[in-house]
């Protein structure tokens, strides 16, 4: 990431994310009316949906960055993939938790094996595998390549997994996965709230991404300096 991008991100993103988040919370708790017949719990939806979308977007980023890394070889792409995977994992966990919090009072069950929830669970497992792989190999080039392979294979697999889980739950295979659950958001206030929440989550994701990438950049720099120190120490050693 070059200097100007980073500077823009550092000055703009934190306050923007904070504003959007605050606005989102206000809208969700004060502004938007309670959905008919659903009760207060339905408000979880306004966070749940954007976070879910960002989970999949984050994995898309992992996949694209992985492919770019394998193709181009520049380490920057690998760092993006890794950072996005961490944040994606966080968001995925949140989706599953908020989903359960919503499902329990609504349908009186903690977990339904419906298509989207199950696919998200598998995605969580793939995320977990990715991070475990990273942890098990360390920050080497080879490790980055392995993770990139998983990123790409995982991304290719997700649509297939989604299709298979959907068929698993229905007797007759419909054409394509339907858009159930986006119950008619009739009230424009609900639409506004949802939109603001989307913006807030996107900004949050970007901000976390930048912070994490910064951390990685620092770690790389530390490694670099450490290597230099070692080399100079051994050079002094042989000279003396």
């Amino acid at each position: 990431m070059n200097e100007s991008v980073r500077k823009w991100a550092d000055t703009f993103l934190p306050p923007a994310a904070l504003c959007a988040m605050s606005a989102a919370i206000y809208l969700v708790f004060e502004y938007v009316p309670t959905a008919q017949g659903e009760g207060v719990v339905q408000r979880i939806f306004y966070f749940h949906v954007p976070i879910a979308t960002m989970t999949y977007v984050a994995f898309g980023v992992v996949a694209v960055a992985s492919a770019m890394f394998l193709w181009r070889g520049t380490l920057g792409w690998d760092r993006i993939a890794h950072a996005s995977a961490e944040i994606g994992m966080l968001f995925c966990s949140l989706v599953l938790i908020t989903g359960m919090m919503w499902a329990r009072p609504r349908w009186n069950t903690w977990w339904t094996w419906d298509a989207r929830l199950t696919t998200t669970l598998i995605l969580w497992l793939i995320y977990a595998g990715y991070l475990m792989l990273r942890g098990s190999v360390g920050p080497t080039d080879q490790g980055a390549r392995y993770a990139a392979i998983l990123g790409i294979v995982g991304a290719v697999d997700i649509p297939i997994i989604n299709r298979s889980v959907y068929w698993w739950r229905t007797i007759h295979p419909a054409v394509i996965v339907g858009r159930e659950g986006t119950s008619g958001l009739t009230d424009p206030r609900m639409q506004v709230t949802l939109a603001v929440c989307f913006v807030a989550m996107i900004l949050l994701y970007l901000w976390l991404l930048v912070v994490r990438l910064d951390g990685m950049r620092l770690r790389d720099r530390v490694e670099e300096l450490r290597q230099r120190a070692l080399r100079e120490a051994s050079a002094l050693g042989t000279a003396a």
Binding site: G129, L133, I160, S164
Partner: protein
């Protein structure tokens, strides 16, 4: 490429131990799963397809693990990479070898499965073997790729199932569905979409693996 396949198979079959241990593992899994379900209940025959696929999957993962452990221990992989062979070809050869190896194990596993779960000997079993073929191929395609990766990580044996199991969910579900259908002696045309899914899965991941394998074995 045929030479490579032959080489892998010869190594596996010369030490009958590999095949034997794979068989034994699948067998043990079937036994344990039999204990999981009360033999008298109707639930038993309904759980049969699932039990078969669990046994096949877990035994398969072990087999895949082994297929690269030997290479690593003797640095065979280095030697292989020195040959002027396209990396993708090495991948294909290994995948096919693993597939044949696992299918060989099915020759014994399926009959045992039929006996343990009291299933009638019918033409449906052909469908079962067919579904196993498709599924095991997909397992091998993705598994060979990730076995190469896992064997060089610190958490060696645990890494492969960790990575592989979420990825092969589609073929697992499809396999169970087709097997269930076949055992019920109903026409397979009804589950055509599952078969298409398995074939699609196999093709897609064979291609992806072929493209990407070189990154898995680079030093």
């Amino acid at each position: 490429m045929l030479a490579l396949i032959r080489k892998d198979l010869q190594i596996e079959l010369r030490t009958k131990e590999a095949l034997a241990s794979l068989l034994l593992l699948a067998l043990l899994m079937l036994v344990v799963l039999s204990f999981a379900f009360d033999p008298t209940s109707a639930l038993r025959s309904e759980s049969a397809p699932g039990a078969l696929w669990v046994a096949v999957t877990f035994a398969g993962v072990s087999a895949l693990n082994r297929s690269f452990v030997a290479e690593r221990e003797n640095d065979c992989l280095q030697g292989l990479l020195l040959c002027p062979v396209d990396r993708g070809t090495i991948y294909l050869a290994k995948t096919i070898a693993n597939f044949l190896f696992m299918m060989a194990a099915q020759l014994v596993t399926v009959p045992i499965f039929v006996f343990f779960f009291n299933l009638p000997l019918s033409w449906g079993l052909v469908g079962v073997v067919a579904s196993l073929g498709l599924g095991v191929f997909g397992l091998s395609a993705v598994g060979t790729l990730f076995a190469a990766v896992s064997v060089r990580t610190r958490a060696r044996e645990i890494m492969l199932p960790l990575l592989l199991l979420p990825l092969i969910v589609p073929v697992f579900i499809a396999g169970v569905k087709v097997t269930a259908r076949a055992l019920a002696d109903k026409p397979l045309a009804d589950v055509a979409h599952w078969l298409h899914l398995m074939i699609g899965f196999d093709v897609v991941f064979l291609v992806v693996g072929w493209l990407v394998f070189e990154y898995a074995v680079e030093e």
